[in-house]
């Protein structure tokens, strides 16, 4: 009898109060939590702050002062110089060249890789054929292979195709290496769409492409956005493929940035360098801040397989 009553009280306790947790603002635990979070936030925010303030100072102030202190006098000269005058080798037309190169690489790469990945993912989820899963698993494992081992053979393939050193070659490479993660993303998304919908369309006589364009595409805008975020940031931030598969005239922004900042000739202009660095980081940062939760969803989808 006592045991039963004991159980019921434990049960009641397990249920717990249903309302929100009462908040005590200044408990020791809270102090620890917020204290740690704020200190860590400073570590994460510091580089962004340093980039911004350094890029707004003139060189005299950079040499004199503290890299963390805000500029005494704000100047946008370093930004102008980084954008339109900074030199890489003999070219002194600034980062703008790299920026436009990156844009010209980005647009076709993103469109092509998303198109291919969405169609592949759709096929893998709704039109399985013998062996399709095998290829898909190879594709997923391939995502872990270090790129370095495939660099040279791809040079040969691109040379054979006449694409070595061209924009087209780099676009193809981005499509190939974006495929595992994006195909996975689309496959998982399309698999979550009710089979009844697919079967109904089949009964009505719709084929592979009709179902894709008329039923699946209109339903899958969110996953296209997620995939686009992954691809845009990934391709914009790429350095290795840019440096291997293109030539100096069409180097993407990251490669040009590195060449500007790490060039050995001339006096180091730290403010211009930081302006250039910030300019290169701006595109992914803007995407990150605008997309918010979708960005998180994208990386979570990429990370947590299956």
């Amino acid at each position: 009898m006592t045991r039963v009553s004991h159980l019921t009280t434990a049960d009641a306790q397990l249920q717990g109060p249903k309302g929100p947790k009462p908040k005590r603002a200044f408990s020791g635990a809270n102090l620890f939590i917020y204290g740690t979070l704020i200190v860590m936030s400073l570590y994460y925010l510091l580089p962004l702050w340093v980039m911004i303030v350094t890029s707004l100072k003139d060189m005299a102030e950079v040499r004199m002062g503290n890299i963390f202190s805000p500029p005494a006098e704000i100047t946008f000269q370093p930004w102008v110089k980084a954008w339109s005058e900074a030199c890489t080798g003999i070219n002194c037309d600034g980062l703008s060249r790299g920026f436009w190169n990156s844009v010209r690489i980005l647009i076709p790469s993103v469109l092509l890789s998303i198109t291919v990945a969405s169609v592949s993912g759709y096929g893998l989820s709704m039109w399985k054929f013998k062996g399709s899963e095998v290829f898909f698993n190879i594709l997923l494992l391939g995502a872990f292979i270090p790129y370095q081992i495939m660099l040279y053979p791809i040079v040969i393939i691109l040379r054979e195709l006449g694409l070595m050193g061209s924009l087209g070659g780099l676009v193809l490479v981005h499509m190939i290496f974006g495929m595992p993660i994006n195909t996975l993303l689309f496959r998982n998304y399309f698999s979550s769409i009710p089979q009844e919908l697919f079967k109904a369309a089949r009964v009505d006589g719709a084929g592979f492409w009709a179902i894709f364009f008329k039923i699946m595409l209109p339903m899958s805008l969110p996953i296209f956005v997620v995939s686009m975020i992954i691809q845009v940031t990934g391709i914009w931030n790429d350095f290795l493929f840019g440096v291997v598969y293109t030539k100096p005239a069409i180097y993407p922004m990251t490669v040009q940035l590195n060449n500007i900042v790490n060039s050995v000739q001339g006096v180091k202009e730290y403010n211009v360098n930081m302006a250039a660095t910030l300019l290169t980081g701006l595109v992914p940062l803007v995407i990150y801040f605008i997309s918010g939760k979708l960005f998180v969803r994208g990386i979570a989808a990429g990370a947590v397989k299956g």
């Binding site: 580089p47 495939m150 040279y152 053979p153 791809i154 393939i157 495929m179 801040f289």
Partner: protein
Amino acid sequence: MAVTDHGVDHARREYAKPPIKIFKNLSSKIAAIPMILTATVIFIGCSGWTIVHSFTNSKLLPKLDFVGFDQYERLWSSRRWLISVENLFIYGLCSLVFTLVIGFLLAALLDRKIRFENTFRTIFLYPFALSFVVTGLVWQWILNPEFGVQSIVRGLGWESFTFDPLYNSDIVIYGILIAGLWQGTGLIMCIMLAGLRGIDEDIWKATKVDGIGTVKTYLVVIIPMMKPVFVTALVLIASGIVKVYDLVVAQTSGGPGISSEVPAKYVYDTLFGRQNLGQGFAASTMMLVMVVIILIPYVYLQFGGKKDQ
């Protein structure tokens, strides 16, 4: 052509076995061509090609003149490669431990029903959106001994303070580690947070009833429950570590001297800088071997585990 073939097959079906089903589901197969080509030609073909050529003495051009393990012997007696591997090992081990610890700590703190959770998460994750080149250059500037952290601490009155990781070959790899952690921990935090959110609220209530403290609950109950999440995080960090390249190029260019070289950079430099193809192929094959060693437990868990279900 395809249609007539198919018609004939149909007629024969009664007394012959159904012939090749290649035309069944044809659109799907056509749509899968890019995936199949990527998987076979690029991932299998190109990797295989490199492995085969790593046993040759290719110099400027690839040729099939086999020399056995010569390239590997040369590789493992090269000081530059040994330094690269050592750096990768130190960087990898520290990065693994710190990323997991910081990532989990931040996720656990964010999961304590706090205010401004979104703001904090946004702050911790934004570096992940940036290019490694950007990360490397910013930290190169912050760690610059003339202007950065060292000069500021000295300016505060501590004249002998020395912190110049990028100019000291003994600790340069830790300078890169600081930047790498800055960029990478946010991602792991996010994954851990997703894992923590997946844990049933009742677990917390149960441990509260049993009078187990918060920290102990994390260590004894929550972390063991999150094993799959940790495995995912581990594989993600590890496969990222092996590929470390742009960060080093931007932050130190491998210097001072060759003290911050990493294998990925060794491969690039031997292939495209010094045009010693055989060496580059051998080095990249070694990189693949490292990844395979890391992946074995993961593949075992992912694919071996599924069979039991």
